[in-house]
Amino acid sequence: MKLIFEKHKEGRRSFSYGLLDVGQAKPLPKKYCRLEAAYLPALSELDVVRHYTNLSRLNFSVDTNFYPLGSCTMKYNPKFTERASMFEGFLQLHPLLSQLSGGGMLAQGSLEVLYETERLLCEITAMSAFTMQPLAGAHGELTGVMLIAAFHKSKGSRRKYVIVPDSSHGTNPASAAIAGYEVKVIPTASDGYMDLIAFKKQLNEEVAAVMLTCPDTVGIFNPHIKEITEAAHKVGALMYYDGANLNAVLGKVRPGDIGFDVVHLNLHKTFGTPHGGGGPGAGPVGVSEKLVEFLPISRVVKRNDGTYALDYNYPKSIGYIAPFYGNFGVILKAYAYILALGKEGLIKAAEVAVLNANYCLARLKNYYDLPFDKKCMHECVFSASRQAKNGVHALDIGKYLIDKGFHPPTIYFPLIIKEALMIEPTETESKESIDAFIETMIEIARLSEENPSLVKQAPINMPIRRLDEARAARRPDLRWRPQLSTK
């Protein structure tokens, strides 16, 4: 499809701000003005709307396709939460109004949403308090690690390391490094769990924290988890819970009960808010009692008279990690989702998410290698090693699935599994759509024996064929330029 810049028609005009209803003041002195107007396309409103509408049709999305992208929890995003987020009272509120003197009263509705969501998340995770401010999961991780650093500093303890397993999300070691820590990586043992012996060898009083995903990134629940948290606490290290996989265990186990000290949640995963093509998400961080005083400011408090207010009076707080109170629009949708599902609904979501994943696992285990042969939680991880021997790699499998109308699973993650295929069906997908996906996966397994080239040439049904990624990286073309278009 042509770029929007290539659709430019000189002299075409659409949106206008109308006549200026105030007089013309002296223009801004030339030296402060841009020399040349920004080169932007001139188009009618229909041109723009048609362009983006047609672009939207080139995407797979949850509303159009089964999207079993492991680790991302691409469940259905209920429409009523979208509508609620569009209520004028929420949409138009300037974030600084509540910081004016007496301004808290101007934002009681939004403050209540933040406060009540925090209370619900505390109960769901068994943590003492949450900051709703982190703007995405990785932002929550960074916030969480900074809280851990503040805690150790307050104890006069200088610690250098953060431990992560080699199966962790890349964001864990990256967040630890950006917060100023060195990273120690623990290998995964042959049973799929973090190698306990290697872990204990690395654990000492220089370790600030251990970051774990639970259930872990290979989709299994580590039954030794309590032993790990106790060992860490014994040397004064704190336990960090990456909540990416919380959807599997809602109401089944709570991070606080296991001994985790810091938790981040991905509201866009667990609580059904849309992923927006890459964001916005929201990554609230919950902490145990001993870390509460370090949480970012402001915090929302409920006063004795039942009203809500912003409180900045936390002298040990790490400060501001976001400009305001978090991605409010996302938090609001998660709140609506939790209210609608209620206790039974949340538990059922976890149960059916796990049921669907185990169903995939059971039906595909004869066709694909299973690195760790046990029941899984909300996602199952296969290896395409068997198919790779015939030249059909995880990437090829993904591309063939695209041709058949399925978004591919997450591929090549976790890094420790060769040719990884990570399938997360989520609880909102029906048996028949999962069956159709499974049949296609079985067909691919068969084709990789009989006619691998059919898989390797995919996709053939899409508007484009496979793209040359090496060329994109070697000769970066990251923007359109006016002079290139005039040929």
């Binding site: 003041a25 004028e88 138009q92 995405a136 927006g276 609608a340 970066p476």
Partner: protein, 443 residues
């Protein structure tokens, strides 16, 4: 309510295939001792009930106030087409476009967004978005630290205090040395900035227009910054770039800012949009997703995520940033917004903002008890000094239906009588007149 499609029979069939008797058998790896001590979540509600609860809550926010509060976050008009496009679920229920062949819509939209940010800022390259203007500024600062191998940052205090505070929080455990330069009469002090520049300086961070609304041309200063081998970073307000000299024209190496003003609602502080643009030579230091153009196996143009060896999912602790999810949907809104406006519309938007603020200044300067600060030109926001405490005035004005500005005493010592007033294109002549009359009555 819930969104699970399974019938009881289907659950049974699936359990049978799995080879277990009931769903609890699937959770056997969780030791019994770890079962939740409580799970006191209210019972399920209907869609109607939840909608009513939220609607009533939305009415408990004040929405009727005529808004003159800005301070980095502005009340601009959003054309309906922006909502229509970002409300298409083929956009909003997709995720990061890892699989290019089924995400060309998203990838092309981001490539166009990157181009728009480059056109606005006058710089070479951009990325697929960051969380907000403050985190974008932190990322820019870290780019400069890595690029120069230095750790000293000169920070102009005309930079939004919220962002300065965020920089301090993020660097609590990093060895970054900050030198903060006070503003003089609301303007950056060149003398002070130059005095502190040296060979240890990684970057100088400036904001245009600055927090007090003052517009500047930093070209001379950027030249000096480069003489010391440091980078110049600008935090900018994108709507102002319809009119103001761009960071690129002034020679800045990196421009970042809050993109909320480009078609994104105020929404009590988020979701917003951090944008970033930089010179070509810094592209491999950039954080986050970047979309590039390439060709498919038949030579047809297509778009992919590229230069991924910078990123956390490959480089882990060596990555340029830990960012994964970004604010793509907000970036899409910005792209649609700017495309609808076009070159002329963007200039008109900036012009209306400038003219209305000038009108307000002129009107306000005619009443007693207000001194409009005129030491430098401004764009759509300006500082006034009141004859009494600004906090009290703001409070009284709320009763009269106005959010009349942001009291600077909240952020700056000794500025208790100062008020920062923003006038966007949405404010009518009549609203400005009423603001002036009401202020006169209150003062």
């Amino acid at each position: 309510m819930n969104f699970i499609p399974h019938s009881k029979q289907e659950v049974q069939q699936m359990l049978q295939v799995i080879g277990v008797n009931n769903i609890d058998d699937l959770f056997q790896d969780i030791p019994a001792t770890l079962k939740p001590k409580s799970f006191n979540i209210p019972a399920a509600k209907s869609e109607f009930e939840v909608t009513q609860i939220l609607y009533k809550l939305s009415l408990r926010n004040a929405t009727g106030l005529v808004n003159f509060v800005g301070a980095g976050f502005y009340d601009h008009f959003i054309p309906a087409a922006v909502d229509a496009i970002s409300g298409r679920s083929e956009f909003y229920t997709a995720y990061t476009p890892y699989q290019a062949e089924c995400a060309q819509g998203w990838l092309q939209a981001i490539y166009e967004y990157q181009t728009i940010i480059c056109q606005l800022t006058g710089l070479d390259v951009s990325n697929a978005s960051l969380y907000d203007g403050g985190t974008a500024l932190f990322e820019a600062m870290m780019m400069a630290v890595r690029h120069t191998g230095r750790n000293r940052i000169i920070l102009d205090s005309g930079v939004n205090l919220i962002y300065r505070t965020m920089l301090y929080t993020y660097t609590l455990n990093l060895s970054i040395e900050f030198v903060e330069i006070p503003v003089v009469h609301g303007q950056s002090s060149r003398q002070d900035l130059l005095k502190h520049l040296d060979e240890r300086t990684a970057a100088v961070i400036l904001q245009n227009p600055n927090f007090f609304g003052a517009v500047d041309d930093y070209s001379d200063l950027v030249l000096s910054v480069h003489k010391f081998g440091a980078l110049a970073i600008a935090s900018v307000y994108p709507v102002s770039l319809g009119l103001l000299k761009t960071p690129g024209e002034m020679g800045f190496d990196i421009a970042v800012g809050e993109g909320q003003s480009l078609g994104i609602p105020l929404s009590f502080g988020g979701p917003y949009l951090g944008f970033m643009a930089a010179k070509n030579e810094l592209v491999r230091q950039m954080p986050g997703r970047i979309v590039g153009s390439t060709v498919d196996s038949e030579g047809k143009r297509g778009f992919v995520l590229t230069l991924q060896t910078r990123e956390q999912h490959i480089r882990r602790q060596m990555a340029t940033s830990n960012i994964c999810s970004n604010e793509a949907l907000c970036a899409l809104r910005a792209a649609v917004f700017v495309s609808l406006l076009g070159k002329e519309g963007l200039r008109e938007l900036a012009e209306h903002n400038y003219q209305k603020a000038e009108f307000a200044k002129d009107q306000l300067s005619q009443i007693s008890g207000i001194e409009v600060k005129r030491s430098s030109p401004t764009f759509n926001e300006f500082t006034v000094c009141l004859s009494r405490n600004a906090d009290e005035v703001v409070h009284r004005m709320i009763e009269k239906g106005f959010a009349c500005g942001f009291p600077l005493g909240r952020f700056y010592k000794g500025m208790d009588n100062y008020l920062l007033i923003a006038v966007t294109e949405k404010r009518t002549r009549e609203e400005i007149r009423r603001l002036v009359d009401s202020l006169e009555a209150v003062l």
